[in-house]
């Protein structure tokens, strides 16, 4: 836990300007920051957890409506976005690596790459949201829902009094969760991109190196966490009852 005396003096000059007054040494400071960031991410788990709990309960109760709602989502865009976000996690991890070994240029480049991929994700999300507005799939006054043909059970649909099997109000619930969950996620992405922009600037100014790169590491943790949320959101929202 304690840095040896020799190392301490060796890096004394470099250490002084980043060590905060109330910490004994950089190692203590770094560990505190890591622990603090993780504890913060735990709160994020519980934050999204409330949404997941509600989603789970209603999906069990109104499975057909959720499946029908899910089938209107664009699976291709969802899958592409998953790939984009995973790629951005990779660039983020590489940025942390570059900062650790003191490769300033690489750090900046990987951070920029992460920002670009994050913006691509958000752009695709905007396309998807626009589609929802177009189809009146946004919960509220103008919500409308027609059951997609594939689910309307062929022979029955031909019956003269064929009715939708789906209560549109329950489909509205699905889209309520869709917007709440992806909206919260997108909000986290936007905040993340903003922080990354500041971080890139500071990295470009040469603020981070082998001795001190805690901010890069912690922003990385945050970014990966946002990625993990999406890893769960993708199957939960896009992949309900896709077969048959």
């Amino acid at each position: 836990m304690h840095v040896s005396q020799a190392t301490n003096t060796q890096h004394a000059a470099e250490t002084e300007h980043v060590l905060l007054h109330h910490f004994g040494d950089l190692e203590q400071q770094r560990q505190s920051a890591t622990l603090g960031m993780w504890v913060f991410l735990i709160t994020e788990i519980m934050f999204f957890g409330g949404l997941f709990a509600g989603y789970m309960i209603y999906r069990l109760a109104f499975f057909n409506a959720f499946a029908a709602g899910s089938n209107t989502l664009d699976l291709r865009l969802g899958a592409i976005n998953t790939a984009v976000l995973i790629a951005s996690s990779l660039t983020m991890a590489l940025a942390v690596h570059a900062a650790q070994i003191g490769a300033r240029k690489k750090t900046v480049l990987y951070l920029l790459g992460t920002i670009v991929l994050g913006l691509v994700f958000l752009g695709i999300k905007v396309v998807e949201y626009a589609d929802k507005f177009e189809h009146h799939h946004v919960p509220g006054q103008y919500f409308e829902f027609q059951e997609p043909v594939s689910l309307a059970h062929g022979e029955q649909a031909q019956g003269e009094h064929a009715q939708s099997r789906i209560d549109p109000r329950h489909a509205e619930l699905f889209f309520g969760f869709y917007f709440a969950m992806t909206g919260m996620h997108a909000l986290h992405m936007i905040i993340g991109v903003g922080i990354l922009a500041v971080l890139t600037f500071l990295a470009w100014r040469g603020r981070y190196g082998p001795q001190y790169h805690t901010p890069v590491h912690n922003v990385g943790l945050y970014w990966h966490f946002v990625d993990i949320v999406w890893i769960f959101l993708f199957p939960l929202l896009y992949l309900i009852s896709r077969h048959g």
């Binding site: 622990l35 735990i42 788990i45 699976l75 990779l90 082998p210 990966h224 990625d227 993708f234 199957p235």
Partner: protein, 104 residues
Amino acid sequence: MGELMSEHVVSTKVYIGIWAALMVLTAVTVGAAFIDLGAFNPVVALAIAAVKATLVVLFFMHIYYEHQRIVWAWVGAGFFWLIILLTLSLTDYGTRGFLGVAGR
């Protein structure tokens, strides 16, 4: 503590390997969604998501190399508490109507 500090520098090869695994798992989860597995479709989807999340947590987020046991403990607590929220909510929603009395 081979490094300057107790922090571990992970090889970029590991990162790229994890990324490839994540991409493959994404393809698998999309593919699996088109096979009718009955009640197991969501189970498979969530299991794959859990594996992906674990890979990200362990390697991208460096938990695998983390020396502070308390970080492990808190990460575990986070998921454990999420499970408390989900399962104890289900004790209500899962047993409604068992008694055959309206609203009980």
